[in-house]
């Protein structure tokens, strides 16, 4: 089949706008999966993703569709991760396509993330097909959606397809538009074979399986392939496509979307965005857009039970196999013992990995306060990168510290403007410009220090805007800032896991708030315990843990002695499970609670 009859596309949509439902409809309509197999949500395969309504791992699928012109087309539908943390992955998935369906919930309208991803698609020169979905909803507001598409994305009304994944409205229109509007595969005439790696997974039997989009030439089993970013060579063992299960085929040709199994066993050797060519016909230029993905957010992860160290290590190793954006190395903490320093693309990525460790790998962990990478310059002219507050050198030798910022676009209802501006101010952000989206909504483009949005920004945005606000961001520049290390002392001893780097102006408030919360979370103690926040040894805030008032059994006689001893033993065991700081016992989950919702 000629590549002229191939179309590669993806679906851009905000969470819950109906991408999964629509994808399933497309698979159904093209008989790619039978109705029976199509139990639920084929493309989102991981539980966690389902729960959170996001897609992390792209999973492509090949469909065959007999169009109205009588020709059977090969349609490759790519799935795109649905969260800002994974915008690089999104951009690679987009790069593997020529077109995109831009899905908009008829009742919700355009969201920040949709706009951001649409812009990414435009930048990749993809043909964008606007689809207003869920038109069966009584609350559907077609007029608003059409106006937003025109105003915000300059998409003309005539291009809009009305659909409902649920009722099956507009499915054929969508398939026909994919064929008529999206161009056939590009860059097929390039002389040497080139394919784009847009994802990879690890299989314990077959090693690393690369998900690829072939642009030019063919690749088949037995070929010697070459990874252009590193020059590493490997033998191709198998190639195939997704039907939607992996199916071996003889060779991948121009325009095909499929997978390559090679002799590569080490997941980090295959990088998303890399170009694969053949060793004996090597291309000289990589496909555009490759980037080294670097983690932006760091934290320490520790097993709650120190006996679980090896189990945690194994869990991290396995997670890394399928997620090369996640990095870790061992570290130790006075407070928490032996654990790992871990790096993530963003907060959601961090939460997901933590959740997986707990749920899928059954290790109870606790995490330290998240940090970003600070660039530190000393008076001696030394430059260093610090991702752990504990490693920040003595304030006396630091000439300056700079911190990463982000460029964020925030969509909000007009009436929450005041609150959001105040919040941006509070978070040390600046608003570059304000655009009106429609009669009710505005888009703020602003710069914010990454460390300020680490924990609660998104949650607060949602709550202030009653769920209507949304945000998208991309990394910005590093900026010099007046940052200090704030330590937390429990009963006079610094607890390294609680150390953080904060802006000097915010240290007092943060310190006070932290002490107050920690004092509340630590269970009442038998004696007075002070919680203090300090900068460079100077206490800036303090609070006291509640003193235990009553812990005494009322009735205790001869017959109760054995039982009573057992109770005390149990109480003692419970205490042993807590982390001991001098004479203060802190339950492990107190760390989680206090580190959460900072």
């Amino acid at each position: 089949m000629s590549e002229l009859y191939t179309r590669n596309f993806c679906i851009i949509a905000h969470v819950d706008h109906g991408k999964t439902t629509l994808s399933d409809r497309l698979l159904q309509q093209t008989n790619t999966v039978s109705d029976r197999v199509l139990t639920a949500q084929h493309l989102d395969s991981m539980d966690l993703e389902k729960e959170r309504g996001i897609t992390i791992k792209s999973h492509p699928v090949t469909m065959h569709y007999k169009a109205k012109d009588g020709i059977t087309y090969k349609l490759n539908l790519m799935d795109t991760p649905g969260h800002v943390d994974f915008s690089y992955e999104v951009s690679r998935s987009l790069a593997a396509c020529e077109g995109a369906l831009l899905l908009i919930d008829a009742a919700q309208g355009v969201e920040a993330q949709t706009v951001a991803n649409a812009h990414l698609a435009f930048a990749q020169k993809l043909k964008v097909i606007p689809v207003i979905n869920k038109i069966d909803l009584p609350s559907a507001n077609l007029e608003m959606c059409i106006k937003q598409l025109e105003d915000i994305l300059t998409i003309p009304e005539e291009e809009v397809i009305l659909a409902s994944g649920k009722s099956g409205i507009g499915i054929t229109d969508i398939l026909e538009a994919v064929i008529s509007r999206i161009p056939p595969p590009r860059w097929t005439e390039y002389k040497q074979p080139r394919c784009l790696v847009f994802d990879s997974i690890y299989d314990s039997y077959r090693g690393v399986i690369a998900y690829v989009r072939m642009f030019s030439g063919t690749i088949k089993a037995g070929d010697m392939m070459l990874l252009m970013s590193t020059g590493q060579k490997a033998e191709v063992k198998e190639v195939g496509i997704f039907m939607p299960k992996m199916e071996k085929i003889a060779s991948l040709g121009p325009g095909d979307v499929g997978y390559i199994v090679s002799s590569i066993k080490e997941p980090s050797d295959i990088k998303t965005g890399d170009t694969i060519t053949l060793a004996n016909k090597a291309a000289t230029e990589m496909l555009p857009g490759y980037k080294e993905v670097r983690p932006m957010v760091f934290c320490g992860l520790y097993p709650i039970d120190s006996n679980d160290y090896e189990k945690l290590k194994a869990a991290l190793g396995r997670l890394r196999l399928n997620d090369s954006a996640f990095v870790y190395s061992s570290e130790s903490s006075v407070a928490l013992g032996f654990g790992f320093r871990c790096g993530f693309l963003g907060l959601l990525h961090m939460e997901i990995i933590q959740e997986r460790i707990r749920r899928e790998h059954d290790v109870d962990i606790i995490s330290t306060y998240p940090s970003v990478i600070y660039k530190v310059k000393t008076y001696a002219g030394e430059l260093m990168e610090v991702d752990n507050p504990v490693n920040l050198p003595d304030a006396g030798i630091i000439e300056q510290i700079s911190e990463p910022t982000i460029k964020a676009s925030i969509h909000i209802p007009n009436d929450s403007m005041g609150d959001i501006l105040a919040m941006i101010m509070e978070k040390r952000g600046t608003v570059d410009h304000t655009d009106t989206l429609d009669a009710n909504r505005v888009m703020l483009t602003c710069a914010l220090p990454l460390n300020e949005i680490l924990v609660d920004f998104n949650d607060r945005l949602k709550s202030v805007t009653h769920g209507y606000g949304s945000m998208d961001y991309e990394p910005g520049e590093y900026r010099v800032s007046d940052l200090v290390k704030m330590e937390i002392l429990v009963n006079g001893d610094p607890v390294d896991a609680f150390a953080s780097i904060v802006h000097r102006d915010k240290a007092d408030g943060r310190g006070r708030e932290f002490c107050e919360r920690l004092a509340k979370i630590i269970p009442p103690q038998m004696f007075k315990v002070a919680i203090q926040a300090a900068i460079g040894g100077k206490v800036i805030a303090r609070d006291n843990v509640k003193e235990m008032r009553k812990d005494v059994t009322a009735k205790c006689y001869g017959g109760d002695i054995s039982r009573k001893r057992k109770l005390l033993d149990k109480q003692k065991e419970g205490k042993k499970k807590m982390k001991q700081f001098g004479k203060v016992s802190i339950p492990s989950d107190a760390f989680i609670q206090v580190l959460k919702n900072q």
């Binding site: 005494v552 001869g558 002695i561 001893r565 109480q571 205490k575 004479k583």
Partner: protein, 394 residues
Amino acid sequence: MTDLGQDKHRSGPPGLKPLDQGIYVHVPFCSSTCDFCAFYQIKPTAGAVDQFLKGIEAEAELIPWRGPISTVFWGGGTPGLLSPDDLDRLAKIIRKKTVIQPIEWSIELAPAWVTKARLEVLRDNGINRISMGIQSFSDELLDGLGRQHTPKQVYKAYELIREMGFKNVNVDMMFALPGQTEAEWLKDLEEAIALKPDHISTYCLTFEEDTALWIKLSEGRVKLDPEHEAKLYEATWEKLHKEGYQQYEVSNFAKPGFECRHNLSTWKMQEWIGLGPSAASQHDGMRGVNPADLALWSQQLNAGKRMQEDRRVLTADLLLEDSLIFGLRVNQGVDLAQARIRFPDANWTFVEAKLSTLESEGLLKISSEVVRLTNKGRLLADSVGTELLGLGSD
């Protein structure tokens, strides 16, 4: 056979005050179950009572009796619901083993069961201390606990007890009942004081596992409020002190000379022999608990065996540890000089280090070799106990 002669086991090293030896009888019968009750108790059918009395007799025969018995305590359950004849039968079994009149012989009586006939039998057999469970004078609060008497019955019973010449009477009261305010409790307590008992026990309501109350707690129908409980404790201590009742243990108060000798002996880790299902013993170098099951307990005894659970050898370390954990509940404190004589081989280094940490935290005070809890420490006696664990643990 009773042996009154000098017994090797009972004569300690020089300088050690002689230890008391007591008998505890668990009478496991109740007509209904109180919401907070975690004791072993069953319905008093004629067959069960007979089985019980036969068992006590058999069990008493299996005990290697040594030395005099200073105290006897009949608890339960509701010992007072036994018929006068059965009470007499039980007393005779015990008297056969005590030989001389014990210094103190207590029985727990529920107001509803107090009759002249019973009191006569008790008095004539040498029972000289009555402990009556009142808990509260509020009908409403009593109902809330599933208790089976009225304030009127309490007054009647108390009067009768005094009329019959009992000179040592305790009343049990209970506080921190669900919904009870401090003022309500103090009013309750005043009514108890107005009876002029010789001894008052005040118990903070405890949520024992597997009780009806525990279920209410876990369902969130009642709530724990340690701060409120602490306040009630303090108010109780203050009130009773003013009224001339000396606190001598966390929950126990007495007019001078009326402290319960039997219970003091257990807190001081002396010796007692427990008879009856679920009764605990500590004598002969061993600690153990009878099975909490009338059928199993009596079946073993019929076979000529005394079966016990949780048996432990009384090592010096274990006894020292418990002398502290339980002894510190007593206001008089723990006499370290005596303890050093009694347990010369225990790990004193450990104990001294622990005690001095706790002292530095203001939980206890050591002066002239006597350790006492401070008021703060008394409210935290369990936490203090937890800190002191470590010597005798398995």
